[in-house]
Structure formats: C-alpha cells, structure tokens
C-alpha cells in the first residue's frame, strides 16, 4: 500500500495542469452538432499538437508512452480544468485498443496516428435496429468480392456518426451463420459510395445519433492502408468482445470526471444554499463519497493491471457504479436547482447526458447479469 505519487508523477501532473489550465477552451458548445463538433475537433487537434491527445500511447503514434498511473493523473487534471467530453473517444478508447491488439503493423501505422490527430474521426457501427443488447443478432451483411467487400444493411444509435469520417462495423460475412459466429470486424470510410448517414436527435435534441445505411457499398481491401478487416474474417465477435471489455472497463470513464462533477456540485450547494439544507447536504456527501470510492476502486484496479493482471468481469460493477453515480450527481444538482431544474443549462444538459450511461456500453441489466454469473458464480439457468 502506497497511496502517494512519485516525484516523476507529480512532475507529470504539474506539466499537465499547467498546460490544461492555459489551454482548455471555456464554454465550448455541445459536440453533438455540426458547428460544435468542428470546434471540438479543433480542440482535439490542439491536444494532439501538444502530445496530450493520447498520453498512454507510444510516442510513435502521437502519445507519450505514459503509464496507467500517469494516464489517470492526466484524466484527473483534464476534468479538473473543465475539459470537455472527448468527441474522439469512440476512436481512441473503443477502436484503438482493438487496433493495438488485433491490428497488423501496417494497420496500426495507418490508422492510429491519424486517429490521434483527429484527422480521421471514428464512430462505432455495432448496434442495429434489431441488435441492441443482443449484439449477436447483427444482420448487416458483408459479401466477399474480388478486391473488397460489398456491404448491405443498417447500423443505428451511432454516436456522432453524422460528423465522423470512418466507421468500425461488425457485419455478418457468413450468410449461413447464426448468433456470434460468422461476423467480421470491418473498417469503412464513410465517404464510400453506397453509404448514407442520417443524423438524428438524442434525448437533448442534439444530432448526436446517426443511422448508417449501406446499399451495395463496395469497400475496397485497400480503402485503409493495411486492410479493412481487423483480426481476420469471421473473427468479429472476439475482436468486438475485446473492445467491449475496454468499452465497459477502466479506460472509458476515468474517475477524474466524476470527482470534478462532485466538486462542482459542492460549489453549487454553497452558492444556492449558503444557509445549508440538511437533506441535500447528506445527498451531496453521499455522492461525493461514491465518487471518491470510484477513484479508490480504480486505483485498486490499476494496481492489479500494473501487476500484470486483468480487470475481467469486475468491469461489470465498475460500469454500473459510474453510470448510476453520474445520474445521482446530476439529479442531486437538479434537486438543488428546484423549479429552475426545468430550464436549459449545463446541469440539465449533463443530466440528460448522464441518463445514457445506464443504457449504452451494455445496459446495466446486462452488467448485473454478468456480475451475478461471473463474479458471484450464480447459475446461468
């Protein structure tokens, strides 16, 4: 047990804090509109130019080769400085781990630096109208042709699909296959002829979702240098599950984000109720403790990872915790605002965003099944 940071880590923190304090843009609009997204892309490019976009990546791809501890420190400083949600996150947190694990050197070289630089902007093409929680129900088809693939079908709930340049999709390449067999993980430029993207409104009305339609879209093998198939034909399920492990695990939701929200909540309480209110105070203390517990749980997970272990099925309760915590933090803020809660504002926007947490990245119902079966060992049937 050693809950102190090393001198080197403290230096890293100081450097990050200094840069972020000076550079984090204030009052950036939502990244879920065309105009807003462009501003967020600029911010991502500024991060990249200063090697803050992907600190834990090797330097050759634009990172700093930072340790997991340094990554945590960076995230903490990022949110403490008021940094916005990362519009590149589906690329750098979801796709990239799979590229590192399953990509060929050629694919890694072609994809990762441009992703880090926010030149290529990646969205996720997994869900379909009839394949949500049940990902193995994917029906979108890919047919092998000479020199490439012909894709037909539809993806949906694609976050920021309307603003991205590329999609990483799971398609059924063996038409005779069922469930999780016969799926392939394919990387597709969205400007491929036959691909149509239609943005539509998320809960807050911003165009943060998209449907992506494929009509005889021909994806040439060399549409991406190194090839458009990741991990091999028919290996889509394993690649996706590895990515899902990452999506549902540590990397997507860093504790710094919730600690920063908890701090802002405390500020709001002081400002709105200087005379105090015992009930709301208790809820704020509870929310603060839960954010702190999330931080500590993460430290314990990172210790395990640093020792060569794996996060494993614990990712399930990790995801339930942060997503329910995020809702609680924002609901407490709305209750602090009282009748003003119904007005548009950053807390309400944040609350609406938080409501997606228990749904996406594996619903919390799915996660509770996983926790019960894999952590507790309860019988599947």
């Amino acid at each position: 047990m050693d809950l102190t940071w090393s001198d080197a880590e403290e230096e890293f923190r100081a450097e990050a804090r200094e840069w972020l304090t000076r550079n984090v843009p204030k009052g950036l609009p939502s990244g879920d509109t065309h105009e807003g997204f462009a501003l967020h892309r600029d911010w991502e490019r500024l991060l990249f130019a200063n090697r803050w976009a992907v600190v834990s990546w090797p330097t050759e791809y634009g990172g700093r080769g930072a340790t997991l501890w340094e990554w945590l420190i960076f995230e903490e400083e990022y949110y403490r400085a008021g940094g916005p949600q990362r519009v590149t996150q589906n690329g750098i947190f979801l796709l990239a781990p799979s590229i590192f694990t399953f990509g060929t050197p050629a694919q890694q070289g072609a994809i990762l630096p441009r992703m880090a630089a926010a030149e290529d902007l990646w969205c996720q093409g997994w869900s379909e109208p009839n394949a949500g929680s049940d990902l193995a129900g994917v029906a979108c088809r890919g047919m092998r042709m000479d020199g490439g693939w012909v894709i037909n079908g539809q993806k949906t709930w694609t976050t920021r699909g309307a603003f991205c340049t590329h999609i990483f999709a799971i398609v059924r390449t063996d038409p005779a296959s069922e469930r999780h067999r016969g799926l392939t993980y394919i990387l597709i430029p969205l400007d491929t002829p036959g691909v149509t993207v239609r943005g539509f409104g998320r809960l807050d009305g911003d165009e943060g979702f998209a449907e992506v339609f494929f009509e005889d879209a021909f994806v040439a093998d060399d549409a991406i240098t190194g090839g458009v198939v990741l991990g091999g034909e028919g290996k889509g399920w394993s690649v996706a599950m590895a990515t899902a492990g990452s999506e549902r695990g540590l990397t997507l939701r860093s504790p710094g984000r919730f600690s920063a929200t908890a701090s802002r909540l405390i500020e709001l309480y002081r400002q709105k109720l200087p005379e105090g209110d015992p009930l709301l105070r208790t809820r704020i203390i509870q929310a603060w403790m839960e954010a702190e517990a999330y931080q500590l749980y993460t430290l314990s997970t990172v210790t395990k990872l640093a020792d060569g272990g794996e996060a494993g099925a614990e990712s399930s309760i990790n995801k339930i915790w942060w997503s329910e915590l995020d809702v609680k933090l924002h609901e407490t803020a709305l209750d602090l605002l009282g009748p003003d809660a119904g007005l548009e504002g950053p807390w309400n926007k944040g609350w609406q965003f938080s409501l997606s947490g228990p749904i996406y990245a594996g619903t919390n119902e799915i996660q509770r099944n996983i926790a019960a079966e894999r952590l507790l060992g309860l019988p599947r049937k």
């Binding site: 979702f209 009930l279 709305l334 209750d335 009748p339 119904g342 007005l343 548009e344 309400n348 619903t363």
Partner: protein, 338 residues
Amino acid sequence: MRLAFTEDQLAFRDAVKSLFVAECPPAVVRSAWESDSGLNPGLWSKLGEMGVLGLLVDEAHGGLGLTFTDMILLLEEAGYAALPDPLVEHAVVAAPLLVQLGRTGDLLSAAIDGGNVLGIAGFDMSAYVRNAETCAALVASLSDGIHLIPHPIGQPQRLETVDAATRLYRVENLSTLSSVGSIVRADAAQTLTGLAFNRGALGTAAFLVGLARRCLDLTVDYISQRQQFGVPVGSFQGLKHQMASALMQLEFARPVVYRAADSISTQAATVDRDVSMAKAMAAEAAKLVARTSLQAHGAIGYTVEYDLHMWFKRIFALAPTWGTTHWHMNRVGQAIGI
C-alpha cells in the same frame, strides 16, 4: 365511506379522454414543441365547449359549478395526453380566482369558452410566468395583494426549457406592472393565494399521475414487442421487477391524489396535509416511472424521434414546481406534529 368516482364523473373522464385521443395525439404535442405559442386553440375551444375550462366556476357565472373531485380525473387525462396547453394554470388556478376577485365579465366568459388563455404569477413558487406573451391577462399574487394585469404583460423574455412545450418567461418588475389592476389586498389575498396554491399543486399532482401512466403504457407496449435474445425484452424478470415497483408507487399515489381532491372539495381541515402528501407522492412516483421507462426502452427512448421523451421531460419539469417534494414533506411533517 366510498373512495371511488361516480358514474357521471367517470363518463366525463371518458369523454375528455376521447377528445384527447382524437385531438391531442403525440403529433400534436410534438408540434407544440416547435410552434410559436405552444398552444392549440381548436382543442382549447373544445375543452371550453365541454365545460372543462369553467368546471370550477359556479353556474351563475357560466361555469359548471362542479368540485375538484369532478375535475381531478380530467387533469389526469390531460397529463396522459401531455396536453401542451396550460389547463392547471388557467382552469384550476386562474378562472376560480377571477370569480373570487369579482372579475366576472368578458374575460371570465372567454376563459370559460376557451377564447383566451389566462396566466398566473406568484402562486406556484416559481419566478417565471407561463405563456406571458400570449395570455389575455395575468392574475398575480404579489406582496401587497392580488393583481390582474392585462395583456401585454410587460416585456417577457422567453426561457429555454427542457420541456419545450411549456412556454416559460421571465417578466421583470411585475410589481410595477401590477399598479394597473390591484384588486385584493393583504389578508384576503393570503387566503385566496393559499387556496389557489393547493389547487395548483394538486392539479399538477394529477397531471403527473397521468403523464406517468402514459409512460408505463408506452413502455409496456414497446417491451412486449421488442425482441432481443429471441424473446420480448419485457419477459426478462429483471425488467419486470423494475416495472412492477414503478407501477406500485404510481398506483398507491392515485388514491392519495383522489383523497386530496375530496379534501379540497369538502374544505377538510386536513387539506394542506392531504394536498402536500399527494403532490409529494405523485411527483416521486412519476419520476420513478419515467426513469424506469427510459431505461426499459434502451436507446430508442433516448431519442427525440420517439415519443417517450416528451412525457419523460414533462415529468421532470413539473415535479419540482408548485413546491418541491422536500417542501411538501415538510408541510406534512408540520401537520402530523413533528
């Protein structure tokens, strides 16, 4: 002893429900989100024709002269339809006030017929005024009494609301505008304001119950047909248990709301307690139902293309109005001596 509605009350409820089914489907609610006024004058007139808008106004002044017990189910149905028009403010709060204030002329007639929309200020613990731009007059409870402020209501600034069907405005210097029509002062005003607050709070409670019932219905329909893993998602026990818990909270809030209507109708000594309990339980039940419904839907509920969000947002927008749950529970506590 009888905690149930009469045949007449149920028939009136059914008639109003039919009107909403025909004239206020989700598409109408959706269009109110984008229209300038957020109002549906045609539907409003029909509510006037049916007597709903003047239900609480005595017959001598052109109303139906009925009681809150006759009104409560209609408010619930308005919630079920997510009626964008300000039924609670207009028919439950303002119209009876006009009579109490002795303003029984054309303004009241038009209010009963659905020929205008009345606004209120200072009754609902809110700093904002609904429909300040379009209302024919504003009944305002200010520190020196109740005032009637005719259109135009100063220079209203529209606010951005999460429930976009509800038009909220900030109106500066209401008290200077009030000089044009102060009509009741001090003590009497306090009594009338207290009565109007209870009516508004309970009307909102009933509206919330209706909104929540519709959320449940939308959700049951969707999860009964939505298939994942080869079965309807509504057949999963984890979801069933959440839905059952939400239903239970809502079903137990309903007789509480109905009892409070009776307490208003009969001017019961416990009316403050009963109204507060109704508002607190209805608001919390509705929020639980809304959260559960959103989660049960999954991604589709999280889009503005699907209807659920209009009910969901209305619930969270209304729940803290007319006194927060915390405020109402405190009033219950005082009534039961702690």
